[in-house]
């Protein structure tokens, strides 16, 4: 399989959790500005589209209480199709469409968001991952038998959610099965973005890249260097790898990350404490 013949699909999952971004923006050492990050991300997306005319793209926002498509735009019946003649002559049509759609949907999302008290600091990562994979699958089927190279890039800033452990892992296994790589670009500051446990596992299992970005200013260079090469090019170019992967899991009973736990010998559920009966599959332990 060569990169010339297959369709190249990039799914970008943006973590848009307002609380995590607000915390990051208040960091005194190296504040993280969502606007700046978005600008650079859009250039990166344009670069992906620039490489080939038939490169495919999907952008998904992973918000506090929902995941939704930023691009391709979800047209409802009431929406007018965008007026084509409004496109400035200085912009390539495709770039313009993508950027407009992403910015517009993001704005809507932010204005819709509830008051700060109602918002929790979780983001729907598992949901976004499934959304990305359903989209990838649709494109794969639509283009059959042309091969498809797909990858998911997660731009992550909020902390891990042990409550979504099972869902996230299922997504990762699904991606592994169809050969979709999961790349993670995670912001790491002094006071935000503590080390993630699940995301490195996602990269490790699917053969993707995990990178921690110390400062947002150089984000674009990181993106263009490490995340632009498509899966085929990864076999040609040397890219940084994470050698140490934290394989810790979250227990199924209290959703906390555990170093040492107990595993049900029948359904392989993980628990932090011993019990007589497996809460998942009801198997009786211990016998007499």
């Amino acid at each position: 399989m060569t990169s010339e013949e297959s369709i190249n699909l990039l799914a970008v999952v943006i973590d848009t959790n307002p609380i995590a971004w607000a915390t990051a923006a208040q960091d005194s050492r190296c504040p993280l500005d969502f606007g700046r990050v978005l600008e650079q991300l859009l250039i990166f997306i344009n670069a992906h589209l620039a490489l080939r005319f038939d490169n495919e793209l999907v952008v998904i926002a992973s918000h506090t209480n929902q995941s939704l498509f930023l691009y391709p735009p979800q047209l409802s019946d009431t929406d007018q199709p965008p007026d084509a003649s409004s496109k400035p002559a200085n912009t390539y049509k495709q770039f313009f469409d993508v950027n407009q759609a992403v910015i517009k949907t993001l704005k809507d999302l932010i204005t819709e968001s509830k008051s700060p008290e109602d918002v929790d600091d979780k983001s729907m990562l598992a949901g976004s991952l499934s959304l990305a994979q359903t989209y990838i699958n649709r494109i794969r089927r639509a283009n059959d038998p042309t091969p498809l190279q797909s990858r998911i890039l997660i731009l992550s800033v909020s902390p891990d959610l042990p409550s979504q452990y099972v869902a996230t892992m299922n997504c990762i296994f699904a991606a592994q099965r169809v050969g979709t790589r999961i790349d993670v670009c995670r912001f790491r500051g002094k006071h935000y973005g503590e080390e993630s446990v699940f995301l490195p596992q996602a990269c490790h299992l699917t053969g993707g890249l995990y990178m921690e970005i110390p400062e947002a200013e150089n984000l674009l260079q990181y993106l263009l260097y490490a995340f632009l090469p498509d899966p085929y090019m990864r076999s040609v170019l040397c890219l940084p790898e994470k050698d140490q992967v934290d394989f810790r899991a979250a227990c199924f009973c209290h959703k906390t990350v555990v170093d040492v736990g107990y595993v049900c010998s029948v359904c392989l559920s993980i628990f932090c404490s011993v019990s007589k009966q497996c809460p998942t599959c009801q198997t009786q332990f211990g016998g007499q």
Binding site: N46, A47, S85, A89, N90, K93
Partner: protein, 477 residues
Amino acid sequence: MSDSLATVKNSIQEYLETLPKQTFDKLYTQPATCLAALRLLPPVAKQIVMRLLYTQRPVLKADVEAWCFQEHRSDLRDSLKKLAKMNICTETGSEHLQINRIFQENMHNALVGGGTHASFGKPADTQDKYEVDIPFLDRYASEAWEAVLHYLVGTPTEKRPKAVGRLLVASGLQEQDGRSGVTDDERTMITSKGFQFLLLDVNVQVWSLLLQYLELAERQLQMDIVEVLNFLFQVGSLELGQSYSIDPLTDTQKMVLEDLKWFGLFYQRKKKSSRFYPTRMATSLTSGSMIAARKPEEGHGYIIVETNYRIYAYTESPLQIAILSLFVSLQARFQNMVVGLITRDGVRDALAKGITADQIITYLTAHAHPEMRKQSPILPETVVDQIRLWEMERNRLRVSRAYMYNDFPDIQEYKQLSDYAEPFGAILWKNDKKRILVVTEEGHEQVKAFKKRKQAAKGIPGSGGHGRAQASPLPSR
């Protein structure tokens, strides 16, 4: 499909690589051109460009080499060579690589949509009273292109536009009809190159004509090649079904628009109209995707070939019939089909015009009827083999330059020489009875030296002369 794509890509690139460096600098002032140039590059080169795009200082060449795994270093080197040829990356000093500043700036502009270049086409401000839709444009483009092919095969039609005639002659697809002695534009004849052209894929046809147009524009029409190229790359980035304003175009570009309109690349309702619509042929120029305007016909192939060399073509198009008649002797014509026979004479006529057996076979395969496609191989093997055999038949003679050795004084000397020359394949032909040796040009020096040595050893002055045989047709073995 990927074959034709590769051919198209290569032909543009080969053309671009012949341009001088200054031309590239002028070309890269347009972001649309930068984008198109980027897409023409091999995958590794694209990544290199993207990595260098936001670097300010020259980068160490050794560092760039380290980007690639050892076993792919040759890919990397090829890519760097390509980049240098396209003047995107230049070597500064012996160890550093530097991205072309003009390219860098305008590629950045393309990515962020900045600048005031308007190189991605200015959509018309006002609503078109006579708006046209995409199916109309597709139909328009395919009719226009078919008309061009009709001019080429010389189907009597209405007066053909000057631009088309000029280009067809300049590209050598047609020539002035010498016999009539009239130097009128109208009297032209298709050449063997023209016949070959007809059998090509549409994509390749369009690009090869455009490349000819570029040459013509530069040499005869005194156009600025940079403006023409920028325009072509610009239309590659336009959107199908959208009308664009003519105002931002330069005078040269308006002339190009006027000329290429006849080939179905653009639609303009009237000559004075202030807007134009690019057709699918134009918008897919740089993407290299199949030109869908012709897809309906290609999708439904129309040719059935039987093992008895009989051919049934379900078509009414005079053009397709004209193309078929190049190598098929047509026997009957019905309302929706023609019947013909693939004969030795017919194929030999086509071969004599410079068409190759491969082209015929590719054409028949590409246009095979859906019923034919169900079987594998699509064409009957006997027919394919026979067409190839007919081609080989023509190649029974081979001409090679050679030296003839004759008048040997005795059989020993003849034997010695022939035994010496035989093992390394220097002998093309020999006749033991008449003692004649024909030696290849490459082997001649060696054989001559050997002969001299032998004669010196014997002390006999050279008696067996050798004459330089004119390159005479020799039977191939």
